[in-house]
C-alpha cells in the first residue's frame, strides 16, 4: 500500500478533467490505497456547493465527490488562502475539508509517497 496525495488546482467546469481525475482517485481507493486530496488555487472551486453543472451539459461532479467517503477517502485538505481569496468559507463546500495554511503545504506533501496533479 502507498500513500497518495491528489492536488486539485484547476477550476471546475472546463471540460471533464475533474471527472476524470475523480475516476483515478476512486480507482486508487478501490485498490485499497491510502488516498488524500488537497484543493488549492482555483481547485477549491471544485468543492463549491450549489453548482448547476447540468445546465452546462456537464456531469454533476458533486455526486462523485460525495462518494469519496464511501471509498474511505476521508482526508481532504483545502488551502486556507485559496479559499479566502475567492470569498469562500469552509461552510460553502460540499464536503468537510481541513483548512491548511499555505506555509504548511510543503510539510503536508512530505507525508505522501506519491503526489498526482489534477
Amino acid at each position: 500500500m502507498k500513500s497518495y496525495l491528489f492536488v486539485m488546482r484547476r477550476p471546475p467546469n472546463l471540460g471533464n478533467h475533474v471527472q476524470e481525475t475523480l475516476d483515478m482517485i476512486l480507482t486508487m481507493a478501490a485498490f485499497d490505497q491510502a488516498v488524500s486530496v488537497l484543493f488549492a488555487d482555483d481547485g477549491v472551486l471544485q468543492l463549491k456547493a450549489g453548482q448547476n453543472q447540468a445546465a452546462l451539459s456537464l456531469k454533476e461532479t458533486s455526486a462523485i465527490f460525495n462518494a469519496l467517503p464511501v471509498y474511505e477517502v476521508n482526508s481532504l485538505y483545502v488551502e486556507a488562502e485559496s479559499l479566502k481569496s475567492r470569498g469562500l468559507a469552509p461552510a460553502d463546500l460540499i464536503l468537510p475539508a481541513q483548512a491548511i495554511e499555505r506555509i504548511k503545504i510543503s510539510e503536508l506533501m512530505k507525508r505522501f509517497q506519491v503526489i498526482i496533479p489534477d
Binding site: K2, Y4, H17, E20, D23, M24, T27, M28, F31, Q33, V114, I116, P117
Partner: protein, 129 residues
Amino acid sequence: MKFAIQINASPYQSNAGLDAYYFIQSALNSQHEILRVFFYKEGIYHAFRYALPPDDESKFNRNWTELAEQRGIDLVVCISAAQRRGLLCEDEARRQGKQDNDLAGGFRIGGLGLWVEATLQADRCIVFG
C-alpha cells in the same frame, strides 16, 4: 530507478507529450527503467493510428510506436478516456459494430488499474500535462 509516467495532454495542446518522450529517452539512456507510460485524459490523442501530420512535422504517434518497438516500453491507453474520445481498438470497434482499429502500433488499451499497478511498483511517478 523505476518510473511510472502518465501523459494527460494532447500532442497539439501542449509540449507535455514531447517533454515526456524526451524524459523517457534520457531516463532509458541513463539505465533507468520505465515501467509503463499511461495515456489518460487528452493524452489518448497520442495513440491515434491515423494522425497524419504533414511531412515536415514531427510524427508523434510514430515516435511512440518506435519507442515501444525498440525499447520494449509498455504504452497503455486508458479505455474509458479513449472510448469517450472515439479511439477504438479492433476488439472494441467490432463490439460496437464498426470495422476500425484506431490504435497506433505499440500501444495497448487498458484500465486505470494498470496505472495503479505501475505507481505501486515505481520508485517515482511523474505526470506530464
